[in-house]
């Protein structure tokens, strides 16, 4: 060809271990392109030669038709001299592996799903069917480069038939590291707690047990689930009893969207996210007349729902169940079990049988949980399916390890303009979780080839993550204030630089002044911040006890609003507080005994939940606030309670004493809870907007980021968003990492790294 041109294409992103090279190979054959493709330390490099028109469509298809698990971050082309030839080759990787991007765990692709249920296929009903376009990755990779010996598939040598597929670039199993078949791959078993096989076909028997109302532990991709038939009241009740989990909602898994629609009301965006390769748990509004056991998600307007993402789930659910409860295989508050012996031991008294297999899970990854806010995911937990996907940051920083908070532990490893957030590690107060903080740190550093130059941690001296950071020898440490980290986290994922207003509402965080913050209006950026305003402080009555017992916060707010006489108010829940306890609570309030001042917004929600009679005690974190939100959704009132914003030289205080008085009067007068709850949400949104406008008038800033766990509340987030937008603010919320402490490490990393940039 005389008009031949040759282009060198460098592609960065998740392009290794996801079938990208065979995809390029097939694409080249399709377009009649000559040249080669190779994995290098810089990413995938392609040299493509052909006429200009073919070359252009080849390049367009590289991004347009990329395999489902691939994520292309950048694609650069460079014109080089033609070399002739007609063949296209896959070249093998050269030398040492560079910063390889590991793919998250995927689902089952349509091709594999078809084969799974095709009686003629040799992998018919084989629960470990996979190809380059689908299946587990992150959870089974033990080291890089991503090759079979570096996965938990290492003990399963390929049979001849699988090897033929594995070596054929035209086959969709070409170099699919987890490829397997019933001849050579992992095997499924149904066993009892002593690892003795139960008779019969494991899937059929497990399904049979489930339909009899039994509890089956199911080994999945990132850990064990406990499954019961979600429509069977007795079974769900028994699971709650054995798991010692009284009220926290259980997640559901339904075989397909049609089944989902029988018990929930997903909209189009929610349906798309349910079926996406990440397969998160999506919080879906309940269908009023749904057949699911009321014990699955009591006192809650939503079902956390997911679709099957492992072949085993499809086998178990299809044509059998409308929905299974699929809750993490653990006792309340413990991390999810993922190793077989450990799972059998810990779940022995919960599960009637164990549906297990001999493919090891290397990295525990919990299911991700999202809500949908304005068409985007709002993460409550970001884990399986998303990790270790990168977040791109607007500034370049040196290599940083950030160790996150304590209750929703995640770590972040960042370098340059890329940050990787780890899977959900969990509550570090659990000894096993604390171990997995260390393991995850080591593992991720290895996978990313990243050696941190500094460690970022929370300012809280007693966070176990702080202790972990302090235990890392030599590396310089940077303590980052909690709410500053929330602000930076939201800025970073939205690509913002410079200064913004941060409205940071969460439970509690250690403040720069040693008090307990949590309803903060910060002005600043990665380089620093100023506390421009906060909620008026009230005593956190009994420290963390106030979190378990929201009525304590109602006492604090009533004391602040009415003084010591508040026990005279005619509120039903007040009368329930014992005669012996009243004087003690009053003394605690008056003398501030174990009751540090707090500006927490999460605790304000608790107070209002207790005041309005929603609940005075919680059995899981965030319960009162969630139920208050659900209650508020039932009312359309636009009414707003009175409040004041009090300014001094350096800061402003949002004073809700007038609102608390009005709420107490309304509650005493029997105003419907929904109206009070809704009016409270309205009031908070109005106060936020007022104070932001005041800050804008002084600082000229019109960008507002919303972060902190309180912004998991959609109703509040929508209210604040709309109200600020109406006033001409640019409002930014989280879409890539959670607004709660699960997203904190990203902010810690960028603040620490920004401060340590060379030449500053």
């Amino acid at each position: 060809m005389t008009d031949a041109r040759r282009t060198r294409i460098t592609i960065e992103g998740i392009v290794q271990g996801v079938g990208f090279r065979p995809f390029v190979f097939r694409l080249a054959e399709h377009h009649g392109i000559a040249g080669w493709v190779q994995n290098t330390t810089a990413g995938v490099v392609v040299e493509a030669e052909g006429d200009a028109r073919r070359l252009a469509s080849f390049v367009a298809d590289l991004t347009g038709k990329a395999p489902p698990l691939a994520v292309i971050v950048s694609l650069a082309t460079e014109e080089i001299p033609p070399q002739g030839g007609t063949a296209f080759a896959i070249r093998y990787s050269e030398g040492s592996a560079g910063p390889v991007r590991v793919a998250p765990d995927g689902d089952v692709c349509p091709d594999c799903l078809h084969e799974l249920f095709d009686p003629a296929d040799r992998r018919h009903r084989y629960p470990f069917i996979t190809c380059t376009n689908c299946g587990p990755r992150y959870s089974l990779i033990t080291a890089v480069p991503y090759d079979r010996p570096n996965t938990t598939m290492a003990p399963f040598p390929l049979c001849d038939a699988c090897r033929t597929e594995y070596e054929d670039p035209r086959n969709r199993r070409f170099h699919a590291q987890p490829v397997a078949c019933p001849e050579c791959g992992p095997r499924l078993r149904l066993v009892d707690a002593d690892d003795r096989d139960l008779p019969g076909d494991p899937v059929e028997e497990a399904a049979g047990l489930l339909s009899q109302g039994k509890i089956v532990a199911v080994k999945g991709i990132g850990g064990y689930h406990l499954a019961v038939d979600a429509l069977n009241d007795g079974a769900v009740r028994e699971l709650r009893r054995r798991k010692a989990r009284d009220e926290k909602p259980f997640a559901l898994m339904a075989p397909d969207l049609a089944a989902v629609r029988t018990f929930a009301l997903p909209d189009a965006v929610e349906e798309r996210l349910l079926a996406a390769p990440e397969h998160p748990i999506v919080l879906l509004r309940k269908r009023p007349d749904n057949p699911v056991s009321p014990l699955a998600a009591p006192a809650n307007g939503y079902f956390g729902t997911m679709l099957p993402y492992a072949p085993l789930h499809h086998l178990l659910l299809r044509d059998r169940f409308t929905a299974l409860v699929m809750t993490s295989g653990n006792l309340s508050d413990e991390p999810i079990a993922y190793r077989d012996a450990e799972a059998r031991e810990r779940l022995a008294y919960i599960a009637d049988a164990f549906l297990v297999h001999d493919r090891e899970i290397h990295t525990r990854t919990d299911d991700s949980v999202i809500r949908v806010f304005r068409g985007n995911p709002l993460f409550l937990r970001r884990s399986r399916g998303y990790v270790p996907r990168e977040v791109r940051m607007p500034v370049e920083i040196p290599a940083v390890l950030a160790v996150g908070a304590e209750l929703k532990g995640t770590i972040c490893l960042a370098r340059g303009d890329r940050a990787v957030m780890s899977q959900h590690i969990g509550d570090l107060k659990n000894a096993a979780t604390l171990d997995s903080l260390a393991e995850t740190t080591a593992h991720l550093q290895g996978l990313l080839g990243l050696t941190p130059e500094l460690v970022a941690h929370d300012l809280h001296p007693d966070y176990l993550s702080t202790a972990f950071a302090e235990g890392i020898p030599v590396l310089p440490r940077v303590a980052v204030q909690h709410h500053h980290a929330h602000l930076a986290s939201c800025m970073a994922e939205n690509g913002l630089d410079g200064e913004v207003i941060g409205v940071i509402f969460d439970g509690t965080g250690y403040g720069r002044d040693g008090t307990v913050w949590g309803g903060e209006f910060l002005v600043g950026g990665y380089g620093g911040f100023r506390r421009a305003g906060h909620l008026r402080q009230v005593p956190l009555l009994g420290g963390d006890a106030a979190v378990r017992e929201p009525f304590r916060m109602a006492l604090s707010y009533l004391y602040d609003a009415f003084g010591a006489d508040f026990f005279g108010l005619s509120l039903p829940w007040l009368r329930e507080i014992g005669e012996a306890e009243r004087p003690l609570f009053l003394q605690m309030l008056e003398r501030r005994i174990n009751s540090p001042p707090t500006s927490s917004c999460g605790r304000l929600f608790d107070a209002v939940a207790a005041l309005t009679g929603v609940r005075g005690r919680v059995s899981y974190e965030g319960q009162a606030a969630m139920e208050l939100e659900a209650l508020a959704e039932g009312s359309a009132t636009a009414s707003i309670y009175p409040y004041a914003i009090v300014r001094n030289d350096v800061s402003a205080e949002v004073d809700f004493r007038l609102m608390v008085r009005a709420l107490a009067e309304d509650a005493a007068a029997g105003r419907p809870g929904g109206e009070m709850a809704r009016a409270f949400h309205n009031t908070l949104a109005a106060a936020v907007t007022d104070l932001c406008a005041q800050i804008r008038a002084v600082d000229g800033l019109d960008r507002v980021v919303l972060s902190g766990g309180v912004f998991q509340n959609k109703l509040l987030t929508e209210g604040v968003f709309q109200s600020l937008a109406d006033q001409g603010f640019h409002v930014y919320t989280h879409r890539l990492v959670p607004p709660n402490d699960g997203g904190l490490a990203l902010g810690q990393a960028i603040i620490a790294g920004y401060g340590a940039r060379k030449g500053e």
């Binding site: 010692a244 006792l331 309340s332 508050d333 413990e334 908070a405 304590e406 209750l407 929703k408 570090l428 107060k429 659990n430 000894a431 096993a432 604390l434 809280h460 001296p461 007693d462 966070y463 176990l464 202790a467 909690h482 969460d506 439970g507 509690t508 965080g509 250690y510 040693g514 307990v516 949590g518 956190l540 009555l541 009994g542 420290g543 963390d544 006890a545 106030a546 979190v547 012996a580 306890e581 004087p583 003690l584 609570f585 003394q587 605690m588 003398r591 005994i593 174990n594 540090p596 707090t598 999460g602 974190e621 766990g709 709660n740 402490d741």
Partner: protein, 336 residues
Amino acid sequence: MNKDLILLGHGSGGKLSHQLLDDLIIPTLSGIPLAGQNDAAVVEHGGQRLAFTTDSYVVDPIFFPGGNIGSLAVNGTVNDLAMMGARPLFISAGLIVEEGFSRTELAGILASMRGAADAAGVRIVTGDTKVVPRGKADRIFINTSGIGAVEHDFAINGANARAGDVVIINGTIGDHGIAVMAEREGLDLRTAIRSDCAALNDLVAEIIAAGGDAVHVLRDPTRGGVATTLKEIALQSDKTITLREETLPLNGAVKGVCSILGLDPLYVANEGKLLAVVAPEAAERVLTRIKGHRLGRDAAIIGHVAEGGGRVQMETAVGGMRAVEMLAGEQLPRIC
């Protein structure tokens, strides 16, 4: 925050106290035989092994149910000697009295000191009295030092916990801290809570008689409570200590007050308690002997020692395993 300032937390017995010791006090004063992390130094002179300790008492209030600053000052120092397995012999008494302090109250405190010394079988042999202007001290501060004889020939110290050992406590936890707080804050309690303030040397003699060299560690969980003391032992011995929440002896009234105040009794101070880390074969023998003593009726095995890590964890009532750490200072909220 000004890094030059000494904070209250530096005296809390928690992480900040340890940092101050490790970063400033011990390095500067090295050369003097400091006890490091132990309750008392064990020194040799003229073929005699002696335990030597000192402690200052600044408790507020100075009178509380179950004792006062005087009995506390004697018992605290007696206990620090006893925790090295020593037989306490001699005590000094340094008084710093604020101008205007009541003579009657001083007399009461001194009588308590004498009473505590007699009860413990030690003699107060030297002392010093200073009066400072009003406002320069809070009524009365007392320093006591003590000397005791170490008469056994095996090691009892915080670095001596071994895998397999059991952890015994001689009774309920948190009584002293809650009694003092209730008195200070004037808490309106239905049931009076008394400090457990007592001299433990007699009980220690019984423990050593029963256990001999199977007694590896003795420690009194004072400031910072059982949690902090066990963490110190775990770190010094490089072992993991696992507690079982259900086995922790707890007085019902203390439990009730702690739950209302939101305090974790594991971090509340004791003044008449000891933790004995004992080889498993001697555990029952030692426990029986402790239970037979008037200061050990509620004794219990509360945990065990395993290899590695300098870690303390607690199996909770629902079967979880919670990490137990030393706190920086006061108990601070941590839930976001």
